[in-house]
């Protein structure tokens, strides 16, 4: 049978819009779901997505991807890589799956919102594929870790984490709910796909794929490469929305949506990706430092993309650039010190060789973060493990839901950015976190962070064991030092040799 060439029918189908007669446009596309912002539908019909694909092409490509990733997994299963991998790498995978897998399903709902409610037919078309993408990502990232549940209950947190009140889950949900589940279709296209996916998922997935290959974990590498190729496609939905907003007098709002999304994504990735790249991945397998990745994939890339669109770099760009030397080191130390509160075993990554690398990549690390690790190391080497475990909660930010951290040691600089709003005192970990709140207080003001919940009596008994129970962490799930303190003992050996 003769098939009409794709080029002859594609544009007709992708721009097809409904002609509705039984309902009004407002009923068809309610503003709170569509977010057209008064821009006429004819303008939205000019939406031109840079990546075009037909359904048969999409299915054929996805089938290939799944076949590839699942066969690598099946072929390497008997190799039992997980049994001989470095514990730091195991922690990387367990942390990743818990933070990401179920949120992929949530992303499927966000794509579904665009697929139904975007006034731009091209956006609806792409988002339909996006919905299928995210569903696939949820499935594959639950299926792969499931094979390892026999090894440790922590692997089960791929499915469990987002159903709990673990602090890291609260932080991840607060971010993803904000940018993808509680926004209109246009805002989702900008905040989820442009602000978050073009930069941050690229970094998480490409960075991890590089580290996974280096570490010899071909199953994980093939899985995340398979996911990333979808992200690279559907991340392109935000650009055309931004162009339409800017062309129709909404540049200021477009800029704000981008800025809030980038800042919030940065904070989440400072705790998720930063420790993984600079501390968990074994030294010999690190391809680049987290800062180097951030500069390449976020700072340079976003600057270029924003300029191309006619937008400015976010007002906090200098703060973010400076924070690349600080925030993730603080987040890492917090996760390690409060290790019973996470579902993976944090690798300290603070042995003698690690510290040389950290000082080289982050000059001055030894006299700041290194000072705290000195005290921790001495305690471990003097039989005082008890002093390396928490007895209270870190104060967490009312925006990022993450600990308020800063530079310790000789250059001590830890800042709170408080705000009293309608009689309630809020605490923020940065000027930009507070700014996000101030842009839309109605959206955020009722949310209670972990400390608010603790003080409101929701966590009982009101102590650390009570908090662990509240977070859903049982025996065999709470984190321990990934290397059983071998990194600290290495200093003792060094001293003996000297």
């Amino acid at each position: 049978m003769y098939q009409i060439p794709r080029a002859e029918w594609y544009d007709l189908t992708r721009t097809t819009n409904w002609t509705y007669s039984y309902v009004t446009e407002e009923e068809m596309f309610p503003e709170e779901m569509s977010g057209a912002r008064g821009i006429p539908i004819e303008e939205w019909e000019t939406y031109d997505e840079p990546y075009k694909v037909s359904y048969p092409e999409y299915v054929a490509i996805q089938r290939e991807k799944d076949a590839g990733a699942y066969s690598v997994k099946a072929a390497l299963e008997r190799d039992a890589y997980v049994d001989r991998a470095d514990p730091g790498w195991i922690s990387t995978m367990i942390a990743h799956y818990g933070a990401i897998a179920v949120n992929e399903y949530a992303a499927s709902l966000a794509e579904g919102r665009m697929a139904r409610f975007a006034k731009a037919p091209g956006n609806r078309n792409m988002a339909t594929f996006g919905t299928l993408d995210e569903n696939r990502h949820g499935q594959i990232q639950l299926f792969f870790p499931h094979a390892n549940i026999k090894r440790s209950r922590q692997w089960d947190w791929a499915h469990k984490a987002m159903q709990t009140n673990d602090w890291a889950s609260i932080a991840a949900r607060a971010f993803f709910d904000d940018i993808m589940l509680c926004r209109d279709a246009v805002a989702v296209s900008i905040m989820l796909t442009f602000g978050f996916e073009t930069g941050f998922t690229n970094m998480q997935f490409l960075g991890l794929a590089a580290d996974a290959s280096e570490a010899g974990d071909h199953t994980f590498a093939s899985l995340i490469s398979s996911v990333q190729t979808d992200e690279a496609r559907h991340a392109q939905q935000g650009g055309p929305s931004l162009k339409i907003l800017i062309a129709n007098g909404h540049k200021e709002e477009a800029q704000k949506l981008v800025d809030v999304s980038i800042w919030r994504a940065w904070k989440l990735f400072s705790v998720l990706t930063g420790p993984i790249m600079d501390y968990y991945t074994p030294l010999e397998h690190r391809s680049q430092s987290f800062k180097e990745f951030m500069v390449e994939w976020i700072i340079i890339q976003f600057e270029r993309q924003l300029a191309d669109l006619g937008l400015d770099a976010p007002w906090f760009w200098d703060d973010l650039t400076n924070d690349l030397d600080v925030t993730h080191h603080g987040m890492h130390m917090g996760v390690w010190y409060w290790r019973p509160t996470v579902w993976w075993n944090p690798a300290a990554g603070a042995g003698p060789e690690d510290r040389k690398w950290l000082e080289e990549k982050y000059p001055g690390w030894n006299k700041t973060f290194g000072k705290c690790w000195d005290v921790i190391t001495d305690n471990l080497n003097n039989g005082r493990e008890d002093l390396t475990l928490p007895e209270t909660l870190p104060y967490v930010c009312n925006m990022s839901q993450l600990p308020i951290v800063g530079t310790p040691g000789d250059e001590w600089n830890v800042q709170d950015y408080p705000l009293e709003f309608e009689g309630r005192l809020y605490h923020f970990g940065s000027k930009a976190d507070r700014w996000c709140f101030e842009q839309d207080p109605e959206r955020y003001k009722e949310h209670q962070n972990l400390i608010d919940r603790f003080l409101a009596g929701q966590i009982q008994p009101a102590d650390l064991p009570g908090a662990l129970a509240y977070m859903g962490l049982g025996p065999g799930e709470m984190g321990q030092d990934a290397h059983d303190y071998a990194w600290a003992a290495a200093f003792k050996k060094q001293a003996k040799v000297a």
Partner: protein, 86 residues
């Protein structure tokens, strides 16, 4: 006497922490309670110094014998705990 939550920002440490104090505590006792969660854990002790309490980023310390109930703090107020000569 009543429990009172504060946000402890201890000099040399990397993180702020929730610390419960008592409205009858003096500033020296507040500093001690904050030190318990930082000094000897991630901050090296400085035995020749005195630990003083101030509002976050303030220039003046509170008097050492002043009570929490007299300090007009809001619950979860952020306080800096500083190693000082006196």
């Amino acid at each position: 006497m009543a429990a009172f939550p504060i946000n402890s920002n201890f000099q040399g440490d990397f993180v702020m922490q929730l610390v419960p104090v008592d409205t009858e505590d003096t500033m020296d006792q507040v500093a001690e309670k904050c030190a318990y969660h930082s000094v000897g854990r991630r901050v090296a002790p400085q035995p020749d110094k005195v630990m003083r309490v101030r509002l976050h980023n303030a220039s003046e310390y509170f008097p050492r014998d002043m009570k929490v109930s007299d300090a007009s703090w809001r619950p979860t107020e952020t306080l800096d705990i500083i190693f000082a000569d006196q």
